[in-house]
């Protein structure tokens, strides 16, 4: 395996800090850019994300044309706060309402394709504590400045929050190191060059994203990489060092459920492509055990692993964007 891709397609956000130049390129190419924030109870961080992105990438430099919040039914004040700071807020269930309703990040990202108008769509998690506009322009940069790049993915130094207000300088990425990297090494060693395949921040051209199926839950990041790699090859992908992202530290059981969904997405894809031959279907439940009153009791979580089809197969989408299949 050659490391060519790693050297050629890895960037640092500071390579793109000349925002004036990015705006010029965007205007020259006559492109529109949408920023999408998927939310579920993010009242503590959503306003900060909207206000910083709006100030720096809309008011000061017209790089982003719209900020869209797709909410999965928050029960806190996420929706009201997001609206009050000027974002376009949508309830995921009200987008393409005739379709069966699902809840999950992947579902929101998929529906954002229908709602947004941009030629480039930037997806940023809404729970970033140390949000900075580099999270957006760092991902937009390679898409505007390198013609062959169609999809850009973030990687970070990942300190994790421990306790209420302390951080530990390194850590996180456990699912990447224990699940994804071994899988990629076994099946697609080239993909191990993607340093944080599970990072929640990425941007891509609509012409690419609309042709991808979207798992509704955790598997969406893995599936995007696998599908883009299969359809267009690794060279259309870039990865960008966004420096530091402070995030919540999830407990091991939550990571277990995440890993289950990712493994299922991965195996189903390889089964479809004929790389793996399974005699039976995979199960839909992860069983984890808790010690309750000196007894081990199973906790069963259902993770079906549903996927939305490529958006370009949805008639309403084709009509809205005037696409003739």
């Amino acid at each position: 395996m050659s490391n060519n891709w790693l050297e050629k397609n890895t960037f640092h956000y500071s390579d793109f800090k000349d925002l004036f130049h990015l705006v010029e390129e965007k205007q020259k190419k006559n492109l529109q850019i949408s920023l999408c924030l998927p939310t579920l109870n993010e009242e503590k961080t959503i306003a900060k994300e909207i206000i910083i992105m709006k100030s720096e990438l809309m008011t000061r430099y017209p790089l982003v044309d719209e900020i869209v919040v797709i909410d999965s039914g928050s029960t806190d004040n996420t929706v009201e706060i997001a609206k009050s700071f000027g974002a376009d807020v949508y309830d995921a269930n009200q987008i393409l309402p005739h379709l069966e309703k699902f809840k999950g990040k992947g579902e929101n990202l998929w529906k954002a394709l229908y709602i947004t108008k941009g030629d480039i769509i930037v997806y940023i998690d809404a729970d970033i504590k140390n949000i900075h506009h580099r999270f957006a322009y760092g991902l937009i940069g390679p898409l505007l400045l390198y013609d062959q790049i169609k999809y850009a993915k973030a990687f970070y130094d990942r300190p994790i929050s421990i306790g209420k207000n302390k951080i530990r300088p390194t850590g996180g990425g456990r699912v990447t190191e224990l699940v994804i990297r071994p899988l990629f090494s076994l099946f697609f060693p080239e993909l191990t060059q993607i340093l944080q395949p599970l990072s929640g921040e990425y941007a891509g051209y609509r012409e690419v994203l609309e042709k991808l199926p979207f798992p509704i839950g955790y598997g969406v990041e893995t599936s995007m990489i696998l599908d883009i790699y299969e359809k267009w090859g690794l060279d259309v992908i870039a990865q960008v060092d966004l420096d530091r992202r402070i995030h919540r530290n999830q407990d091991t059981k939550a990571l277990g459920r995440m890993s289950f969904a990712i493994l299922k997405t991965f195996i189903n894809r390889q089964k479809r492509s004929g790389l793996i031959d399974l005699k039976n279907n995979l199960y839909d439940e992860i069983i984890q055990y808790n010690l309750v009153d000196s007894q081990y009791q199973p906790a069963v979580s259902k993770i079906i692993g549903l996927e939305r089809p490529p958006m370009i197969e949805i008639p309403e989408y084709c009509e809205k964007f005037n696409i003739k299949n």
Binding site: T45, I51, N165
Partner: protein, 386 residues
């Protein structure tokens, strides 16, 4: 001036239109750690933002105070300084995570003084959007090493090395809107530490207890007679020591502050406390030391100084009631160099020195309008008449 005051309230809405940028500055600066003596990262963010906003010059002085300069139209007018201290009380490994809600921003250090620095950083773009120019150069400085043991070293150095005259200055503090500080008390902050040898065979028949020794010192301080005029007081503000409940304390430390209208009185009281410390240390045969952490000389403008009068009028024109108390901020350093100065607060807040420190967003726009009003007043010559 009257016409200017009449128009001042209309500025509030124009400033409010820049809300996103102002809040972004507050958050970006506030989320960059800057404990006293370790302000380098915040200083870099300060300079980057200043450069992005297109000020004419971005630099640091020899002490690494970051500075942005907006050139004035009249080269012969001395500059106007606007300063806010960069350092905060919080460690660098604390998550400086700010939360924005509809009318508040919450986070460690926001009131002291990330809000002040964020507003300072926003001034160049506010001036630009409002089409404002000044005769004087406007020097926007984020001063380092202000708090506690920093002892205002940053601003002291900045002024010591600034060789040309300064027309006037404004010190920005986060809270409270309405504060109009124009005088500062004389002040010494000190620390008394007691240490008892743990070595076996030390000379004591009964091992003394460091906490009880300090208790004797406190009793001694309480017996001091302090005058009503000049107004003077001693505050015992911090105490720590000992290891656990059942063990004699071998080490203990006491923090105190002496304040007075007269610095001579402050020094005299300090000497009295030093004598108490020397005496108790000698009699108990313990290692008992006193040291100065920081000090300030008393300095003031008169209430009828044109800068004070104009500032009060500006506040009133915006419907803000001015309140005046002594302050131990950069103001005293400017005043001690005979530079007319005031300290202003920007908005209201609560939980000042905690992780839950919270500022109100809406009043901030008035706070910025008053700041611009006072800069305009100094540029119009209110400090030149004295």
């Amino acid at each position: 001036m009257d016409k200017f005051l009449e128009n001042l309230p209309t500025l509030v809405d124009e400033i409010k239109a820049l809300k996103d940028i102002i809040i972004t500055n507050i958050v970006l600066i506030g989320q960059t750690p800057a404990p006293t003596f370790k302000e380098k990262r915040r200083g870099i963010v300060f300079m980057e933002r200043m450069a992005e906003f297109g000020v004419d010059e971005v630099t640091t002085d020899g002490y690494r105070n970051p500075i942005g300069i907006i050139r004035g139209t009249s080269p012969d007018k001395p500059p106007i300084f606007v300063v806010a201290h960069l350092d905060t009380f919080f460690d660098k490994d604390i998550v400086l995570n700010y939360t924005i809600k509809e009318n508040t921003i919450t986070g460690p250090g926001i009131l002291d003084n990330s809000l002040g620095v964020g507003v300072l950083l926003s001034l160049p773009i506010i001036f630009k959007k409002l089409g404002m120019t000044f005769e004087s150069d406007i020097v926007l400085a984020g001063t380092i090493q202000s708090i506690g043991k920093g002892n205002l070293r940053g601003v002291r150095h900045l002024l010591k090395t600034w060789t040309t005259p300064i027309r006037g200055s404004i010190c920005i503090e986060g809270v409270d809107l309405g504060r109009l500080n124009y005088f500062s008390d004389g002040m010494i902050r000190g620390e008394i530490s007691c240490s008892i040898s743990e070595e076996k065979g030390a000379m004591h028949t009964y091992t003394p207890n460091a906490i009880l020794i300090l208790n004797e010192v406190i009793n001694g301080i309480m017996r001091l007679s302090l005058p009503q005029r000049p107004r003077s007081r001693v505050v015992v503000g911090k105490i720590s020591g000992g290891a656990n409940h059942g063990k004699i304390a071998y080490d203990a430390t006491l923090g105190f502050e002496i304040r007075s209208d007269s610095y001579k009185m402050v020094k005299s009281t300090y000497n009295d406390i030093k004598e108490i410390v020397d005496g108790i240390g000698h009699e108990n045969e313990v290692d008992l030391n006193i040291k100065t952490i920081s000090n300030l000389k008393a300095a003031r403008l008169k209430f009828n100084h044109p800068l004070v009068k104009s500032t009060a009028a500006i506040l009133k024109s915006l419907g803000i009631k001015p309140t005046s108390k002594s302050t131990e901020s950069a103001l005293s350093i400017f005043l001690s160099r005979n530079i007319p100065s005031v300290t202003l607060g920007i908005t209201y807040g609560e939980y000042h020195y905690t992780n839950k420190a919270t500022m109100e967003i809406e009043p901030m726009f008035k706070g910025i309008a008053q700041l611009i009003g006072v800069i305009k007043a100094i540029d119009g010559g209110v400090c030149d008449e004295q």
